[in-house]
Symmetry: D3
Subunit: 283 residues, 6 copies
């Protein structure tokens, strides 16, 4: 075909082939256990469109997407509303990617999508640390009588990654029992100082980074299922992400944008910009 | 307590006690199998608020809510995301209501909530007819590999209510196979004439009425999961409902409002007004 | 009736009976003097719905709504557009509640609803202090030729509570004359330091707390009649509220949410969360 | 000043001077008795902006705004929230305009603004007929204990213009009592045939035309205080307006746009286009 | 790569290769001459996402997208804001496609994109007829001193396709001069009868079909630059499209969705459904 | 005409005559080179309406609009979509205003409107400094092959105002090349300290101030073409503006509000409030 040129349909700056890539971006359009406002299923496709409004260069990191090689694989096709199918497809895809010594970057969807990816990552890297940004602790044991849910995901992960390898930040909502567990296990690092000094100690460990975007204050991120006032500003989150750039991040995900709840488009754009920075710090 | 008076919190015109009522309104806040735009879970509570913007009198029916006795039971409390729990709680509630010789009025929620209510109704009234307003035929056998879904609900019902007792109206979207079934079984009555003469023939039969609000054109009803252009105008639907007022409607539901998709509030108000008319024709 | 269980329709965590409660929550759906963008009349019912998206536990206060006993009385039924009827119904209800040695928590509605409640409170507690969070000073003598208005409410209160018992915070808009009065009477405590040291001095005095939610920056609270850029962040307001927890707060209100101006739902949720914290610090 | 040219700030096609005009357009930004969704106060200024998106030529009337002479006087400055001041300012302005043998075109605002204009008009033209388009009958005697309200305006007018001079069209909501009055007095002409033959009979009488825009179906006009499904389509209303063009319309108003409830801008644009047609048929 | 399966990213039902296709869909994201509300540049990508909410089967046509072969080429990459570059890229692409005896389906963008496509089409098919659905006549000679604009596009086309080969439908806005031209040249067929009998006469001629979506009433299609009340209902437009299915349509386009002006998503979905029907009638 | 009084239609606090004014406010409704989300064309008229929701008094500056004399000239009438006509009309108007020793206050529109105004200003004041608030550096040489664009405006200005007279603040997005230029030429002063000490040095120089409102964080200013998370809070920007009040500001503009992208109205109100402060510091 000689007509053209045509606009790029992949994520801004993505390379054309899976094989050339060091990092694989996979869309995870699932929101089946979201008990409050659903819609995270629409996030991966909307973030991809918004990515083309960004520059490829990050002034705060002084890096450019042209320096890295990532592949935009598209959205996994889940059997609708089937949680087990969803979890098993994610785990299988992540295993495959880790087995080729590539990095995983999941684009949620709701937070439950993190569980199978961390499982696959942990099999490959048994001493894995988890860095967890979130407004909610996600440490409930059973949520509405359900063991696999966006509200229990970190609890399930804590059954195979011990609390001393869990670094949480931004948490500001949960039950009394969850916060008692957090205080007992000292997993929460909410101030800059606490967070930066904790991060110093995991420089030689493989790290999985999970960013629940509701860690941001709803002033900058209203498009999410359970907005929680009192969160991080965009720059506060970016500064903590910058602190991670010397770590060995082997897998990551960015979850919980529900784009239809923010008609201004700012939430979707913010998600895209954070993913750009995550891509650059994973390199 | 002597402070007050306070505003009414029940549905406009509801009576205060279950026992005095001839009709029981039950909210069914479930949208777990909605494959497109979710949010029908929020419908019952939003419709209740909107009902207070209506008059109690219907000029087209020349009837007033003060002439009937219905009870607003509130929303059933489902185990979140658990389809089986949802279906069984609805069936149990409907059975109880039918066993007391009262009428059932379900407020969805997505269309799957109709299945257990019709099951319970059919047990009580074995010669039950189903009048079904919808944009979609909901006759798929398995939707995304799933037998119980908002897209299969009428197919499931057709397994115990035979096609000659099924009266569909407003349908304008489906697969080729669904429309072949419809043509073979002659269940569709899309013009006024077809519909009115079909209705004439069920005057001596107990009837369950299910209104999927997306039967309306999206111009008047944009707040739904799967809007489908080319639907009925409000007055066209009302005229068909008026035609039902001489029937013996023993149960009914009104489903598939997803209120967050219509910021003007018109969809929610329209749902409330249709429910008012349904209440009046059930009397 | 044996059908159910049903979802709770009262405010999250409310107790079932007036008599058992130490604090009575009363909705005040009035916005008749709002000169800019109306709609605060819709706030109480919307906040109640949003409250069910919150946890009952507050990590910053380490307290849970289960530890307190408050009653959700519903919305007072005002004669529409009749300011005098509105003011007298509020005053009567507040008097009754104070006479039973219970605490008052008004949910506005516009700011004028504060006047009758403070009047009733002041009769019971003649040495009452007023803590006033707001973007606007509300100290105009006559607004658009009107002595009773949301823009004059604090001026009216200052006619029976002397300026030295008035503690204002967050103010950033007004006429030259208003700010001259404020400077002369030293009622404004806009920085953390000023506010915290002023609060220290009223620990032995009964306090009425009025929170005009537009004290928050419009970035986190756009759903209000007169948004005013340059306000407090959510955490700044919460920290000032925490500072009040050792005071003897005998009455309070939270006013000026106009929910239809924020389609993201964040403003309504923020109002609900602030009310939760106010409930917990009143205990 | 030689800089320029500048865009026109008056209504599309308005002439520059009061004296040259045969028709005076007056904005009436009042919504104080609107019991449901307020905001009609913002209508006149928003309609003026939207008018510049229209053509000056009407194909259905084959007339152009350049053929008539109307003056855009701006919005009357009411004492905020003061109903009496509002009503008296309108009556005074209308009297002045009628006394100069000019025509009045009021742009609401809520429907109560019609009362003083019709009063002034009736003094000048004692055999005045009223043509009334509306969804609501506005015939309540006292609404929420109030005699002067948007819900009672036609009742008040019927106290000095007798029912046989009242021509109502589009009505579809009201109390049982209101519809009994309507049926008894035969004021309602809801079908095209009824309306057109009734209009034939007032060709020799001065006419005041009042268009409550909620006569339109909410599908085309969602931006109003009390949307009422089942209304006229745009073309149905236009055809009835065209039928009026041979009458002697001496005064008119177009009321009840609440622009903030329709973010698409369609309601405001529709209001502007109807006003253009009203201007052309008044000529 | 063995991970997957992934969701389809092309238009619903598109085939994978250019060469196999009989019809080529090309996105034309340009809105540079839109004088009112811009944003049609965002239409092609949004319509593609929305297409996946449709069924592949059309009940009114009893045809399925699986029966045809069309290729989704993506969006042409225009030099931003450069009208000449835009027009020449479109013309070149269309020429190429016509030269391979394939059909052209352009997805606007604003209406000016039709000009170069019709030019290319006319070169290939010199006896080409143009069927033009629109609210506006687009027959101005110079719009705001500009000869190439969305408001002049049909005028420019009429310079090489004579008026007797021009069939216009749905027009309801324009200047007096435009409507004089239309009446003189008898190009307008606004009623069903007029349109259907005119269409009968072009059965043996190659036809280019251009659908400016604002031909639809704003009740169903608010998301456009210049909404114009009084338009066709969805079914009225579909019926006229069905009437075209026996013609030899060699090229077509669907233009003027401005998706950000309709937050309900209905306009975008409606555009997608109309394109599905256009695809099916071109076959 | 003796009817009235009428509401003011000019900007809040404007004087009635050009000749009496020291500062002339000119609306510049152009957005033709905006490559992302258009709509800045609507800003001047919307800001004017919003200005009437402000007080005339600024507490942070302790100044009142009544102390200054500015004239609201209205919006320039550009030949639509014609960049050259636009630029030349702005330059001519600015020249005229500077030639009468008045100050220029442009209300955008997109950022390209700054170029002709600065050109005219620089002719009058050859030692002019430029203070530039923005999220984007606008220093690209050719944007999408275009030399005159909102993304190149500062680059074009830097061709006649040397970099040492350029003071940029708030920048956080651009290409690698742009940031290399910035670092080489030391034009960026992003922290308070850097900015305040740089400003100290231009107290004796005429200054042109250009505020691209996207310098603000999207949390407070979502209504813009290219929102960029991580920006200044409202108070941070105001503090930097206050620092300018001892400078000799001879011209200024405030650009890039795209009002339709923020339905809450906060962005438009924020723009109006910043313009009020700019008016007060120019005095």
């Amino acid at each position: 075909m000689s007509i053209g040129p045509f606009l790029q349909r992949n994520w801004l700056g993505a390379v054309g082939e899976f094989d050339r890539a060091e990092c694989i971006m996979v869309g995870l359009p699932y929101d089946g256990t979201c008990s409050n406002r659903p819609g995270a299923r629409f996030a991966p496709q909307e973030i991809r469109l918004a990515s083309h409004g960004l520059e490829t260069y990050s002034p705060v990191l002084d890096k450019d997407l042209s320096e890295i090689r990532f592949y935009d694989a598209g959205e996994l096709d889940f059997q609708f509303g089937n949680r087990e199918d969803t979890l098993s497809k994610i785990e299988k895809a992540a295993q495959e990617i880790f087995s080729e010594n590539k990095k995983w970057l999941g684009i949620g969807g709701e937070h439950l999508v993190t569980l199978p990816a961390v499982k696959a990552c942990h099999k490959k890297y048994p001493d894995l640390c988890l860095v967890h940004f979130d407004a909610h602790s996600d440490l409930i044991n059973e949520y509405l009588n359900e063991k696999l849910s966006h509200a229990t995901v970190i609890k399930r992960i804590s059954e195979f990654i011990s609390p001393e390898k869990l670094i949480q930040s931004g948490l500001r909502s949960g039950t009394k029992e969850e916060f008692q567990w957090i205080r007992k296990n000292k997993t929460l690092f909410n101030t800059d100082d606490e967070f930066f000094s904790r991060i110093e100690k995991v420089k030689n460990t493989p790290v999985y980074l999970t960013v629940d975007l509701d860690v941001l204050d709803p002033s900058i991120f209203s498009g999410t299922g359970t907005p929680e006032p009192g969160g991080l500003s965009f720059n506060e989150l970016i500064n903590r992400l910058i602190a991670l750039q010397d770590l060995n991040i082997v897998g990551a995900d960015v979850v919980e944008l529900s784009p239809h709840y923010d008609h201004s488009g700012v939430s979707t754009l913010t998600a895209a910009k954070i993913i750009r920075e995550v891509l650059l710090i994973m390199h």
